[in-house]
């Protein structure tokens, strides 16, 4: 019996994994070849998708990217010498891109079937939850504090402090909310994790609920990820049936639900998300009060994004010290970086903090897909700065990036070649902010629209003096937005604008000295 593993991940399917699986089934049936196809999660080596893996006694052997037309030849090769096939990649775990990674969050990626509790169990699943049930809440909170885990969103706030605050807040009802609407453009780790390993997020939320004393949890997922919504809903059902939502064994289950967003980017901001969960417009709330004290329906609420909550089972299962030993300085653990845009080897790279941006985009990414010179990389999503190659030796660490006037955010890296016009990207950032601003505070609501107008005037003018004056105005406006906005939307939209202006003045028709 031949066993082949093919991802069921939505992006693998978007580039033809389903068609390859169908072609294999059809062709094998014609040849009367006994074939078993396992639909696993994706390894995240997306440039090789659809990636077909042969399960052997010596481990998985890969072929990719496979098209349906390759299938007859592939089956021929599998019957004889698999290594001779033109698409043969050898043992998958020896591919340097994967071998050199430090996969904690994505340890099961490409290995397990997303909705198989047995696969999850067999690969270390629910060990963190088991450990958590042996501890009291204070000890779980202490473990999260000791691990140095920081929120994997923009602010990188120490997670343990939030946990302690919610745990100590007196209330009849507390909530754990997973912000799965933070799918910044250029990132896909959340989607991969929810589609590929949904039990990990569920396990993290159950542990969080136990530790802070919350009996209800919501996962607010962006509507652009329908497959993630399906996977989570099914996984919650399976986990509930298997008794995992009632770990205390007292018949009071952790009430975990998925809620679907409706296409508003601002709902990735935690207070706007809470408003949306309450059934309102996603308007940002002023802080204080902190959501940890007055969050969902006015009750203490632990809000974290997907990667933060998914890190928790690992910390509990393997110990805070194990986790803390990854990374550098105050950036502990690993971050799944996501290589996107004009990149040869796009995919997910989970590494401890501290490798350089150059190692990431040139080493792993292999430069641009177009083969043209790299112009810049936008790090940290649409609100992240454009970093020029001259700064690529910066280590990927929260503090080092903050010192550059940039941010790591979610770990998304969008690469661009020299054909991308940075004035256009600066305009796009402001236009996006104008479209998506919730409208509560003036710098963001008005500033973004005025910013688009200033960029348009700047680009249209042929008078150098006028251009310089508009550039000054734009910097001034960005300053107002950065320091005067209520949340990160208006506060960080200046990052891509100012970085584009600073590093690529020629694209704005400005002198380099400007």
């Amino acid at each position: 019996m031949l066993t082949l593993c093919i991802p069921c991940d939505s992006l693998a399917c978007a580039v033809g994994a389903d068609q390859v699986a169908e072609a294999l089934t059809r062709e094998a049936a014609q040849r009367r070849l006994p074939l078993h196809i396992k639909r696993t999660s994706s390894r995240g080596l997306y440039w090789l998708e659809p990636l077909v893996e042969l399960d052997t006694a010596q481990g998985r052997v890969g072929f990719g990217p496979v098209t349906p037309e390759d299938v007859p030849g592939l089956l021929d090769a599998l019957a004889g010498d698999p290594g001779s096939h033109a698409l043969a990649l050898g043992p998958v775990e020896a591919i340097p891109y994967l071998k050199t990674q430090q996969r904690l969050l994505f340890a099961r990626a490409g290995i397990t079937r997303p909705l198989s509790l047995d696969d999850y169990h067999a690969n270390g699943g629910f060990e963190g939850l088991r450990q958590a049930t042996l501890l009291d809440g204070d000890e779980v909170v202490a473990a999260v504090l000791d691990s140095g885990l920081r929120g994997r969103g923009g602010a990188a706030f120490p997670a343990g402090i939030k946990w302690r605050t919610v745990r100590q807040a007196p209330a009849g009802q507390k909530y754990v909310v997973c912000n799965a609407d933070e799918g910044d453009s250029g990132t896909f780790a959340d989607r991969m994790l929810m589609e590929g390993d949904p039990f990990l997020l569920i396990e993290g939320m159950i542990i969080a609920g136990l530790a802070v004393g919350a009996s209800k949890g919501y996962i607010y997922v962006r509507s652009e990820y329908p497959d993630a919504v399906r996977a989570l809903n099914e996984a919650i059902l399976l986990a509930r049936e298997a008794g995992y939502l009632d770990v205390a064994g007292n018949g009071v289950a952790f009430d975990l639900q998925v809620r679907v967003g409706a296409g508003a980017y601002i709902c990735g901001e935690e207070t706007a998300l809470l408003e949306s969960l309450e059934g309102k417009r996603g308007i940002v709330r002023a802080k204080p009060p902190l959501p940890a004290l007055e969050g969902l329906f006015g009750q203490p609420t632990l809000v974290h994004n997907v990667l933060t909550l998914a890190s928790v089972p690992i910390i509990l299962a393997r110990g805070a010290a194990f986790y803390r030993d990854f990374g550098m300085g105050r950036s502990t653990g690993t971050l799944p970086f996501q290589l996107a845009g004009n990149v040869r080897h796009g995919g997910l790279v989970e590494r401890a903090f501290g490798l350089t941006l150059r190692e990431l985009v040139e080493g792993y990414g292999g430069g641009t897909a177009s083969g043209r010179p790299i112009k810049a990389a936008q790090v940290g999503g649409p609100l992240g700065a454009w970093v020029p190659p001259a700064q690529f030796d910066t280590p990927l660490d929260y503090e080092a990036f903050a010192a550059l006037g940039a941010m790591l955010g979610h770990g998304g890296v969008v690469l661009a070649d020299d054909t991308l016009n940075m004035a256009g990207m600066a305009r796009f950032a402001l236009q996006f902010c104008a479209e998506e601003s919730c409208g509560k505070c003036t710098p963001c609501r008005i500033g973004s629209t005025r910013g688009v107008e200033v960029v348009d005037r700047l680009i249209a003018s042929t008078d150098p003096a006028y251009r310089a004056s508009q550039a000054g105005l734009l910097r001034d406006l960005c300053d107002t937005m950065q320091y005067g906005s209520l949340c990160a939307m208006g506060g960080m939209t200046p990052y891509p604008v100012v970085s584009a202006l600073k590093h690529f003045p020629a694209d704005f028709g400005l002198e380099a000295a400007q």
Partner: protein, 161 residues
């Protein structure tokens, strides 16, 4: 609006099921849109009454979120990603292709009513940009020829109806 009233049983069913859900409004709107294809005007008063909200509050929520629509959709909906990663791989050229070949603007509809075009900002397919979603299905590494074939197939199907 006779069509509108046809949806009343659906609306009542959804409200009966969801009205006591905490923060019910988004789940209600999603369920009505899933069933009717859009949020009929007749739903607003019903929802407001069931949730003890003003009609203005309900309309305010509907208009806030890009996903909710208040008119029926075309037979097919194409959401073309226009975020940075897809832009760096030619998304703007794909948008221009639709504009030039079909006169299809963002938020527009083809003349034959076959296809709605909507911009979207990230489908999580950034490692294989450019990407689009057609009727809920994701496509990546989209080439101009592939986009053309997808759109033509939608239009042919509607013509055949």
């Amino acid at each position: 609006m006779p069509d509108d009233l046809n949806h009343l049983p659906l609306i009542q069913r959804v409200l009966a099921r969801e009205r006591d859900t905490p923060g019910a409004l988004l789940p209600i709107l999603h369920a009505i849109q899933a069933g009717a294809g859009y949020i009929p005007d007749s739903a607003v008063a019903e929802i407001a009454h069931a949730l003890n909200l003003s009609q203005a509050e309900v309309r305010g929520v509907i208009s806030f979120y890009h996903d909710f629509r208040t008119t029926p959709a075309a037979r097919h909906t194409l959401r073309l990603c226009r975020a940075e990663s897809c832009q760096s791989r030619g998304a703007e050229a794909l948008a221009a292709q639709l504009r030039e070949q079909l006169g299809l603007e963002d938020h527009g509809r083809t003349e034959d009513g076959a296809l709605d075009l909507r911009p979207v900002y990230c489908l999580g397919a950034c490692a294989c940009s450019p990407a689009l979603e057609l009727d809920g299905r994701l496509y990546a590494r989209v080439t101009p020829e592939y986009l053309r074939a997808l759109v033509d197939a939608c239009r042919e199907e509607v013509k055949a109806c």
